[in-house]
Amino acid sequence: MKARLPVAASILELSPDRSAENTADSDDLRLVESLRFGEESAYEDLIARFQQPVYALALRLLDGPSEASDVVQEVFLKVFRNIGNFRGQSTLKTWIYRITVNEAHNARRWFFRHRRREVELDSGPDDTRNWKENIPDGSRSPFDQAFGCEQHLMVEAALAKINPIFREAVVLRDISDLSYEEIAEILGVSLGTVKSRILRGREALRDELAGSLKRKPSLRLVPKTAE
């Protein structure tokens, strides 16, 4: 414990303005105030600003787009209903991400209890893409596109296989690009735990990716004479 204290102090010294970043800025407070007074533009701003990151986070913490959509709706419902309780002691992003992580955790538990045997009837996200998302990207060759797509699929699949506790930390750090302090606040754990989870999550992801890249045993042909 004694050995860790100087390290923690030095870490805080590395980023002296971190504590300032973790409180709501004036834009957040203005947005929250507008939401409390029911201004239409504030609702639009909040949705425009957070719907995509919240959906991306929920999708990576859960198993499919259907569950992620449910969680996103729950998150925004909670945000709208509890915006009066937001005191500005954290950033609006941290607050919303914390709700998202908690809701994803609840959904995962509920899913394992109830919905494992359900069959999804809702259409996938590809069916609901608008025309802009379907325009082909001409800047890359088909090989690059296929290779990139394959890479992304492999990384996403490996990410989905690691322990959800570590996955949360890795996603928040490496994909959502949050600081350790923000992650600690979102997950409700100490900085040391965040550090440990990120380390173990990265190692687990590395092992998963290494395992998926291992060469599969080739087909062995044994010559035999015709009978």
Partner: protein
Amino acid sequence: MSCQYAQERLSPLLDERVTQDEREVVLAHIEFCRNCKTQYDYLRDQRLGLQKLPAPAMPASLREKLQVMASHERARTLSRLTMQARLEDFSANLRLAFDNIMRPFGLPAASGLISAMALFALLAPSLSFARHGGDDGPTPVATYPQLEEVGDVGDYPQVEDPDSFGSSYEKVIELKISPTGSVWDWNVVKGDKELTPDLKQMILIARFKPATVFGQPTWGVVRILYKHAYIIKG
């Protein structure tokens, strides 16, 4: 410094979460340790791969649901801003709840009322009611005829109901009274069968209040009693 010490700090080093001393030591180690250098490069590439992951496409239906939800929640917020808005919202909710309750009840109730009115309109011509003529007293089940007018015939006749029979009287005449109150038939029950002209005139002139059953006029019988002079008894 061992490889284990360095590898525990590779991930924090990637995030710049190590002290300056640790950074220098670990960087110096990975300069000559091929294994640790590989691990560090792998972690860095892995992180770059994660950062390059494209944002997943959000379903259009979810966008629409969020817009609808925002609209509802905004209306909810506005309805709770002031006391007046709260009261208006409360009364609107109350009206809505009442409408929702009455909607399933209203159609059967209205159709029942209309059916009852149509049935009453169909049956009304066949119904008749008792006429009480201003008498507020209770209507007896059945009444006997009552003498109303007898004309100028000397002694007033005594009228009794047909069940009683006055043996002390010389003559007893039984009259059959129609529902209109006039004498329909007569019969001498006791005494001389011959009637005097005055008696005949009295029978012709006398008017009776007809017998009734449940308030409705009907046929009835009275007896007229008299001694030496004629006395009408019913």
